[in-house]
Assembly symmetry: C2
Homo-oligomer: 486 residues x 2
Amino acid sequence: MAFKGGDLLSEKAAGDGHGESSSYFDGWKAYDMNPFDLRHNRGGVIQMGLAENQLTLDLVEEWSKNHPEASIGTAEGVSQFKRIANFQDYHGLPEFREAMAQFMGQVRGRKATFDSDRVVMSGGATGAQETLAFCLANPGEAFLVPTPYYPAFDRDCCWRSGIKLLPIECHSFNDFRLTEEALVSAYDAARRQGIRVKGILITNPSNPLGTITDRGTLAMLATFATEHRIHLVCDEIYAGSVFAKPEYVSIAEVIERDVPGCNRDLIHIVYSLSKDFGLPGFRVGIIYSYNDAVVACARRMSSFGLVSSQTQYFLARMLSDEEFIGHFLKESTRRLAARHERFTSGLREVGIGCLRGNAGLFTWMDLRGMLREKTPEAELELWRVIIHKVKLNVSPGTSFHCREPGWFRVCHANMDDETMEVALDRIRGFVRQHQRRAKAERWAAKGQLRLSLPRHGAAAAASPYLALSSPMSLLSPQSPMVHAAS
Amino acid sequence: MAFKGGDLLSEKAAGDGHGESSSYFDGWKAYDMNPFDLRHNRGGVIQMGLAENQLTLDLVEEWSKNHPEASIGTAEGVSQFKRIANFQDYHGLPEFREAMAQFMGQVRGRKATFDSDRVVMSGGATGAQETLAFCLANPGEAFLVPTPYYPAFDRDCCWRSGIKLLPIECHSFNDFRLTEEALVSAYDAARRQGIRVKGILITNPSNPLGTITDRGTLAMLATFATEHRIHLVCDEIYAGSVFAKPEYVSIAEVIERDVPGCNRDLIHIVYSLSKDFGLPGFRVGIIYSYNDAVVACARRMSSFGLVSSQTQYFLARMLSDEEFIGHFLKESTRRLAARHERFTSGLREVGIGCLRGNAGLFTWMDLRGMLREKTPEAELELWRVIIHKVKLNVSPGTSFHCREPGWFRVCHANMDDETMEVALDRIRGFVRQHQRRAKAERWAAKGQLRLSLPRHGAAAAASPYLALSSPMSLLSPQSPMVHAAS
């Protein structure tokens, strides 16, 4: 039943602004068609493209079981059923906003305080980003975003609002840190094109890098925003997922302590319980704005994506249990650190490096040394092999608008230890095989001989991937790949 | 902390598209400042501006208490906690979509069937309407809407999407029925203005009229949509709140049975659990489209307003309990009918009529006879007296874009019997006082005498409202108000 006459739908409906027609969804399709299962499908694709936290859900489940009064459906909670079922005030339950404000402070080590009257609900961080885009910019106006950045920002911020995202180019030579020079360069470039810049959007901790933004950079951003009268939107949805030093610094803390002249009307924070708490199903997004007009407008827009009152009620009780939250955050940090260490050290065994990260549910893996050449096409070629042969759905750097080919985001917190070990084994096996081939090819080239390599199936035989070089760290200085991969 | 430099926000944020700056919110403000409470504030304002169903929540509460396995926070349901908390697929839980599809059929007397693959979630009907606007029309394009219509459609459909709503004028002489003549007239007028009409949006049952659209009119609309290749959006959020004959007819039934040539790609239904079930806090909006491309696009957009998985899980169990649902719908019908009968017959005692309705949570009350003159200004003048003196927050017809002054929507299902009786007493007292005054004034006018009427306070003394006439049904043929109120 194809729809004839596409002009009957809107341009948004007919267009690709949602991003799901992109080739980057190939990995998801491969996973969906053949999902790995420890017991029932050990040959399937392992999902490493999903930044989901399954490491601490047992703690939340346990709390929930011990607190039946937090569920309005239980004998202990049912006295609140009518009030809660009927509650539709877009300000949210006062106890929910208060619990959220105190929780946001606790997650940030009490180094900043949050006012419950500035807590605005939205349908996940997805809805929060869109709401801020609608509040802050007109169609055609732009936010600057350091690269690499979360691919779905294009959908969240731009699709329906019509605003633009313009990249601030960051590079591996300084660990993708955002510099003032790069910011100014992006800002000036936009102005030269006649595009009005309305804000800067960062993720801190960074998705996909797994790093945090240091205090000095945050102060620079707040100062730049103040001087140029543009907004600064800080997406802090991984604030509670920082598992190692250096300590996390929130923009909330920086504007209180470090930038006394900051125009707070320009500062907005996005938060969520999907990542730090592992509750994406509950659809809890938060806009925390220091600007009264934005709070008022975002609250009105929150009618399009309020949090279920049943869920607000439950979370109000859980988040205000400070002792539990303290325990949860400590345990979560410990488990995330252990997972990260196990995964990255496992990669190091075969010479694969990652950007040094201390936050998030993923690792920014460096496969530059395995590229056939230093191009986005070669990155995608390698990626397809990883999906279809190695059967891991990882995400290529180009999907994060990374200009430097060869980086991949690998999520490792959405699975149990055993699955993670299978994934690690697959990567190591793949890399070792690649290294053997590369070595053989180097020998062959040296001796002007053409060696016949063992091939696995017709598809592999047809793939130009077999010409791939070894990882950078194992390359000899003579390798033609050194330059291509630097 | 006022925000200086409004141009830093978007035009949407700076503008009034949300509608909340309108004077119509005066009634809500009056209620918020002094809410009636049976025990603690019997002099407060009674909320009759809220179409909320509190008559059957006890049944839902009871079911909930008897089914602890439907809550993931209970000992009986906790085994599902992790799966549900992590569930974020925008298709929704399969069991939720299936239960919703079967429930939608049951509500409509099994005269139409619904396919769970066409059930798309959104953040309440609010989010559903916006999503359809984004899917079906570009900024500047229009939907035609019969008047009077739900005021928040301007926010839901237009604010962020930029589409327009153009009225199809309906009139009291035929009980505000939508005629083909009025539709054609509105359609032609739009085209003359160079506005592209992309669809027709109706509420069936009607909010605010409390009436249903008959089969013939629905068939006319589906035929018109097919012939002119424009969409037909049917908001059926009160489909389960029809409490008297004639029987409800859904567009789903009409396109299956009555309009064989209908282009189903143009037909879309909005549903919700906020009204029929009295669960507005749960934020369950549904788009049911017969158009594959709209289903796909709306589903992608549903990322901005998914239903909490905790709530999906609970409702999947409740809605699939067909025996309970059967009992619920029967009992709900009985209670709504009783409430409607009690309220409208109470009004009749003092000669106040209502449009004959058989659905919804409100009554379309005719106070045309009480207007000083037949103008919107006089309607608002009367309305302010009702809010501030009678202390009832009812909604004036002009806020529903009704062109004929003197109609008011009065909600009566969001309160208990006792509160409703207080509200009824207040209206009757007000009308009787008005009648006495009008009578005295008529006598005074006859005898060329100026009577000194008792006045209540300075505000009342200054109000031109004291010159108001009596309700229409009590007017003598000589009254100068007869014409004004016809």
